[in-house]
């Protein structure tokens, strides 16, 4: 078995630390650090942390002086490895904003913010499950209802808008509402009056939504991050591979027979990958 060494930090272009790799081993590969930490197979990647960490200059300096502590990656067989520069991945994130949130979660883990969780359907499912266990799921249901309301607002007929606003009020705002939300008397009165006057606007619920989001953020969300459900969500994220061996083989054709090929990964390749990412996100 032929061993090829690929030190993550020595084979870099100029912006060493900012730079990471998307790695692909065509055949089963093994990744070593000084102690064998884990085995990477097609679709895995490494070094992604430095891609996403926003310019932490002090830390970069320490890293440079401290190269020995960084993991070494060793190929156990013929591999194809793609390299991705930070400026490219930033471009990619501009085009596919959900992917940014997805990576945010993987890297920030316990420090991720509420907005990230709300944008990712799978994370939202876990969070909703948690809120149900705490009897405060009405907050997230309200959030989703308003999101839907605002998304469809411009396409709706005036009467439908009034109906929708009425439905939201009866479900979440009025005192008789099954899922009444925890907002101040002032906000409640304003909304109810506005609906009664048929004065329907796209942003009429924004203040209520802000009130509810703040409540979630201050009260439930910190507990969610301490909960078993958040841990389960994180482990389900971590065990997900971005692509499959099959996908890569199809894309690469004959090239997969060659020795280690290092290329600066093009933006296009990651965009193709986006299809798979999207699947992961939904």
């Amino acid at each position: 078995e032929k061993e090829k060494e690929n030190n993550n930090n020595n084979n870099k272009d100029d912006n060493i630390i900012d730079n990471g790799n998307v790695v692909d081993f065509i055949k089963d590969g093994i990744m070593y650090s000084e102690i064998e930490a884990s085995v990477l197979s097609p679709g895995h990647y490494f070094g992604e942390t430095s891609l996403l960490n926003e310019k932490d200059k002090d830390k970069d300096e320490t890293d440079k002086n401290n190269q020995s502590s960084l993991p070494r990656f060793v190929c156990k067989c013929d591999c194809v490895i793609f390299e991705m520069e930070k400026k490219n991945i930033d471009l990619f994130f501009e085009q596919v904003p959900q992917a940014r949130q997805w990576f945010d979660i993987m890297l920030s883990r316990y420090n991720c913010d509420l907005n990230t969780i709300l944008q990712i359907p799978k994370a939202l499912r876990y969070f909703t499950m948690f809120l149900e266990s705490e009897f405060s799921a009405e907050n997230i249901h309200f959030y989703l209802a308003i999101r839907e309301y605002k998304k469809s607002f411009t396409f709706l007929h005036q009467n439908t808008k009034i109906d929708m606003a009425n439905i939201i009020c009866n479900a979440f705002i009025a005192d008789s509402a099954d899922q009444q939300i925890n907002i101040s008397g002032r906000l409640k009165r304003n909304i109810l009056r506005q609906v009664q006057d048929k004065n329907i606007t796209e942003n009429m619920f924004d203040d209520c939504l802000h009130c509810v989001i703040t409540l979630i953020e201050r009260d439930s969300f910190p507990r969610f991050k301490q909960s078993i459900m958040f841990q389960q969500f994180l482990s389900s994220v971590e065990n997900f591979t971005v692509t499959t061996k099959h996908d890569w083989e199809r894309k690469l054709g004959d090239e997969n027979k060659v020795d280690i090929i290092r290329r600066t990964s093009t933006f296009d390749k990651l965009i193709q990958n986006n299809k798979i990412l999207e699947r992961a996100l939904s």
Partner: protein, 376 residues
Amino acid sequence: MGGCMSDSQDTTDRNVEREIEKDKKQDTRAHKLLLLGAGGSGKSTFFKQLKAIHGEGHNDREKEGFKRQIHGQVVESIQLLIRQCKTVTKDPLPGIKDEDDEPFGNDDLDDARLSNSLKVEMTETEIAQFKIAKEFDQSCQYLLEIHGSRSALTEQLVTHVKSLWNECPAIQAMFEHRNKIGIPDSSAFFFNDIERIGRSDYTPDHKDIVLARYRTTGMTEKEFHIKDAVFKVLDVGGQRNERKKWIHFFDGVTAVLFVVSLTCYDEVPFEDVTDLAADVTLMNSMLESIKVFEDTLDFECFQKTGFILFFNKADLMQEKIKRVPITNAFPNYKGPQEFKPSVDYISKYFLSLNRVPEREMLLRFFFEYVLFVNYW
């Protein structure tokens, strides 16, 4: 990155089931204590105290959460103070839209609860004291533009809050009316300590954590091991919408810990908060508390359940009683406007609401951040 295990809903479900099984087993040996009370009475504060004294305390991640809560409280309180001043004096600030406040004095035709009889008229001179001087315009604008949920305390923010809080009489005057506009008492403490709280290496200490005030939604539970006994304490939200959920927690309760804020007899409940015109004799959290207590006592499943009544914020009460008599909420009170007789009257009043003589009723008093723990 680990192996290629796919995400499986089944695993999740099984784990959750296992958790529930485990919970059920614990249920049989733990005493279930239910914290109830109207909004803002101090249930979660009590819960935090328990955690600090009998639990494992608050870990770094939780402290990070409290830090955000405190920062948020500071920003929201100062924003609310500015907005209310601006609204009352009909003083628009360029570039800022009035978010949720309609102009003061706009009659609510549809809302019977707020008919004119509930409103207190203010004279011109009274209104004038809320006028924020021109020199603070920049601070006001800066602070109002901050989006509430992203409110790390920057150096600039600290400077603006400090100048408004310490040098602007209108803000101080408005803070005196905090009972009507839903600003927590503890905001004063955080305003005074703004420099310490705004430091980049700030970590909230025990007192900060206990004084941090935010509404609770839904229910959280926590187990405490005190001597040989296991207590499972449930903390819930207290606003009207939250009370609709209480019925789900009533099963198998050993004792109800009912929390009453002594000082709430001139505070407008969050659910009713409108503006300065609110008449606190007709709408205050003490009346709300009494109603909630009566309703709770009446529940069929609580007929044999012991109640512990906690009267909270005794320290603040000692100050407030000098300014405001309890006749706000108890028009029949004829005693002197002093701490001891007033508190006695309130506690006796609550006890008298119990119509089941054999039910065990205990009374306790505690201060906002000093908890006496020898009642078990």
